[in-house]
Amino acid sequence: MLDYDYTIKREKPSVAGIVAPTGDAKFQKFFWGGDEIMVPLYKTTAEAKAAQPQADVLLNFASFRTAYDVTMEALELGGFKTIMITAEGIPERLARKMNQAARDAGVIVIGPATVGAISPGAFKIANVGGTIENIVNSKLHRAGSCGLVTRSGGLFNELSNIIAINADGIAEGVAIGGDRFVGSVFIDNLLRMQDNPDVKYMILLGEVGGTEEYKVIEAVKSGRITKPIIAWCIGTIAKYYSSGVQFGHAGASANAERETAEAKNKAMAEAGIHVPATFNDLPAKIKEVFESLNIAPVPEPEINIVPSVRRSKQFICTISDDRGEEATYAGFPISSVALPSTGKGIGDVISLLWFKKQYPKWATDFIETVIKTVADHGPAVSGAHNAKVTARAGKSVVESLVTGLLTIGPRFGGAIDGAAEYFKYADDNNLTPAEFLNYMKKQGVPIPGIGHRIKSLKNPDLRVKGLMDYAAENFPKTPLLDYARTVEALTTSKKENLILNVDGTIGILMVDMWRALGYAEEEIDEFIASGTLNAFFIAGRTIGFIGHVLDEKRLAMPMYRHPMDDILYDVQVAEKI
């Protein structure tokens, strides 16, 4: 379908999303000409429809076991104009229920047991038309003047080819499907084609069995259908075999004389429909009718050529692009966010490059405040210490810096992630502060983000106070911080210094920020799980570490050696085993 879209120069791919119930990927790469595009994946039809409400066609590729459920769910969800079903052999009773439910909902069902349908030059669903080479050969890449309806998928292709050779191609075509009970039948499609001014004449390829062709005959007789129809029912051979031989599709089983291919061909011919003498004469009949209509030639449009050899891309980038005049951050030229005149700060750059969104000023200011707040915390903390020791060993700025950065983890700097994770868990599960403390005790983890070496309620950490004041003034609301304060009230009642510390405050306020920005809880959980909160700490503290490294370089301090009297030596002679 994407090859088709590309070939006919469709601007946007026709596939909005794919429902893939198993697997964790969020998108799948597909070729778009020589290039590639990403098509989003969703776990459920509901999720896909919610994310892509503009998509109004559902291609149901589920097996005969589940195709019914998938269709019924889609009808329940609503918003689909057409549902195509490829599965062959859906239980008949389920197929009838499904088709009726769709009819009642005004939804067109194509199939079951179909290879798809096509509006040449605009939209193609599923495998109809076959390979892109065949599509172009059969002139299915641009609109002609025939409306084509068949049961069989293979013969749909065959007829498209015949029509391309003997006439000017098709304006729209549907393979209605081979099962006994299909959603839209010949007449449904022919009536639509009658009303479509691009269709000048119709071709119907029926089959032995069923009485649907008679509805077409009625419509011709009543004058509801006035455009010429060329028709043929395959399966004339069935008359030679009394029973037991199933010719063709499940729908093709003649239970009565009038359901035979011969009777239907005869009745159609009598109604004034153009019926050839045999299937082998169909091409000549098409040529004859087409030429009698004197249709103006169709201009051949330019097409894109899908390259025959395509290489899959190794890397994907969705945040920045350096291919144009000026490199961009999430679509914004660098100068439009970098220059002072733009009024943009580092918080804006982070929102673009980390989150691919333009955050409001209160949020970018908060991010900037966080970066500034965590930039340094003196030389004694382990990360800064490691950076300094490395610098004194004569290593470069980058080597010394990463030594410091590599120290960041669950014990150093990790409290931001941890605080966000645990407080959010407690809040999501409506735990009271006492229950939360109990829970953490059972987990055997000290509450991340609670406790300070020297600061207490009486001697507050001014960084914390600053962040809280900023949030109170600028955040729309701070539910998680409010909850955390109730926890703090309980912990400080036990011990003075068990206050909400700066890491905890940042982690919790980040969650409040994202909530206020409209992120779903699952998205926020993903931010936490992927270590996004620590990233703020890493970005900020990099500034401080570089400061310490440059400080060492300036001071030209010698190689550091730890004093031996600061080490407790307790070495036993190794036992022989």
């Binding site: 059969s138 292709n157 395959i234 063709g248 082998n280």
Partner: protein
């Protein structure tokens, strides 16, 4: 094929299995056995006391009706209702011994058309149930167009068949109608001839019957007649078809049900059975029917629709007597599956020469494939050529190929090269040639 006929015995067994769910206020003794010969019947009598205690009825259970008119219902020895176990066993052995003539249609009591001749292999034996004619009723259900139709009559047996128009009440139901709506409609349409004090019972039975028909995924279900004596039901004769596409969800409900070949139809050949087995194992489709194995033209066609137009065209241009088989492969079979399919056909085709000494014709046809890789499937056919080349040359064969679709150029080139290398006569065409035109070429050659 979606709708498959099952034996009367299986139909009764399925209803009996779910009896209390659909007919909680009725009883059905489910006294019925299916046997293939007299000794099996005697063996069954060791477990089922009623076979010894009651007088019996025996009849073949092989999908055909009109058993009474064909003289194939045993209910009397000297007088009606005196058939013993011994007599039934002897009668079954006698009827199974030789081929029997069975007429499927009658005009009055006169058979119409030629009889089918075959062995009787399955018999059902049940107690003889004395009852009044007035206690016999008719009921059946099937799908007509988009609607389910329930047929009911106060008269059962042959009378209903011969007086269908006057005696049967038809009620149609949309697929969307609720249980309540259905029940109400049935109650309102109980045939007028049902005795007044039996009407409520009849309606209740019909409601259960129609629900069983729907929920158990029958495509056709007929009891003709059933006997209703108060709350006691006897199912005297049943005909049923299942919608076998529902098989995956009805395995439990249907139990171990068999889909027999119709009486008089040739038993499926081992080759056809092997293709059926392969078909059941793959997501692709492999179908083969043998029509006339000594005929001259064989087809190996891809696609359900294309296979039909090839068969049509052969019948039109060469005549039906020249067509040996019907079948198709589709849905992207693997190379191995195609090889197996092709070998099966080549094997059948090379068993004997054409009686008139002409070359045999193999049509390897197909429309323009949607997604089946032509080169890949042709690789399987080429491998089969390699295995059968000597036999093919010996019997004399002309091969006509026409195909389009993914990778068709390579497929056509490969098969042409392989045939030339193996010394086989071949002509190869692509989508520029009309799909069935190779039939014309082959016939005119």
């Amino acid at each position: 094929m979606a709708q498959k006929a099952i034996r009367e015995y299986d139909a009764k067994s399925i209803l009996a299995k779910h009896w209390d769910q659909y007919f909680p206020n009725f009883t059905y003794a489910y006294e019925t056995v299916m046997v293939q010969n007299g000794s099996e019947l005697k063996e069954a009598a060791k477990e089922k006391a009623w076979l010894n205690e009651k007088r019996l009825v025996a009849k073949p259970d092989m999908l055909f009706g009109k058993r009474g008119k064909n003289g194939l219902v045993l209910f009397r020895d000297q007088k009606p209702g005196d058939v013993t176990l011994e007599k039934a066993a002897a009668w079954i052995d006698e009827k199974a011994k030789e081929k029997q003539e069975v007429y499927f249609a009658f005009d009055g009591d006169t058979p119409v058309g030629a009889p089918s001749v075959d062995y009787l292999t399955h018999f059902v034996v049940e107690p003889f149930t004395p009852h009044e004619q007035a206690e016999e009723y008719y009921i059946s259900a099937t799908c007509v167009g988009d609607e389910d139709v329930l047929y009911m009559s106060a008269e059962g047996g042959m009378e209903v068949e011969e007086g269908w128009e006057e005696k049967v009440t038809e009620v149609s139901f949309k697929i969307t109608e609720s249980e309540e709506e259905i029940a109400e409609k049935i109650r309102a349409n109980v045939p007028a001839d049902v005795a007044e004090n039996d009407k409520a019972n009849f309606a209740e039975f019909a409601i259960g019957f129609f629900r069983a028909y729907r929920e158990l995924n029958f495509a056709y279900l007929e009891i003709n007649p059933f006997v209703m004596q108060g709350n006691k039901i006897e199912l005297l004769d049943m005909v049923a078809k299942l919608d076998d596409t529902a098989g995956f969800m009805m395995a439990e409900a249907w139990g171990d049900v068999e889909y027999p070949t119709a009486f008089g139809m040739e038993e499926k050949s081992p080759e056809v059975l092997a293709i059926e087995e392969a078909d059941a194992k793959t997501g692709a489709s492999l179908k083969l029917t043998l029509l006339k194995p000594d005929a001259r033209i064989w087809t190996m066609v891809a696609g359900g629709g294309a296979s039909v137009v090839y068969a049509d065209t052969i019948a039109d241009l060469a005549g039906i007597d020249d067509l040996a088989n019907y079948g198709e492969y589709s849905g992207g079979p693997t190379t191995g599956e195609t090889k197996f399919y092709a070998e099966t056909i080549l094997d059948l085709m090379t068993r004997q020469k054409d009686p008139q000494g002409r070359d045999k014709i193999l049509i390897i046809g197909g429309a323009i494939a949607n997604f089946t890789d032509v080169a890949k499937t042709f690789t399987g056919i080429i491998q089969a050529f390699e295995a059968y080349a000597d036999k093919m040359k010996e019997v004399g064969m002309k091969i006509y190929v026409r195909r389009g679709g993914p990778n068709y150029e390579k497929g056509l080139k490969d098969i042409k090269e392989a045939a030339d290398r193996l010394g086989l006569w071949i002509d190869v065409y692509g989508p520029e040639t009309h799909v069935t035109d190779i039939v014309r070429m082959a016939v005119e050659a």
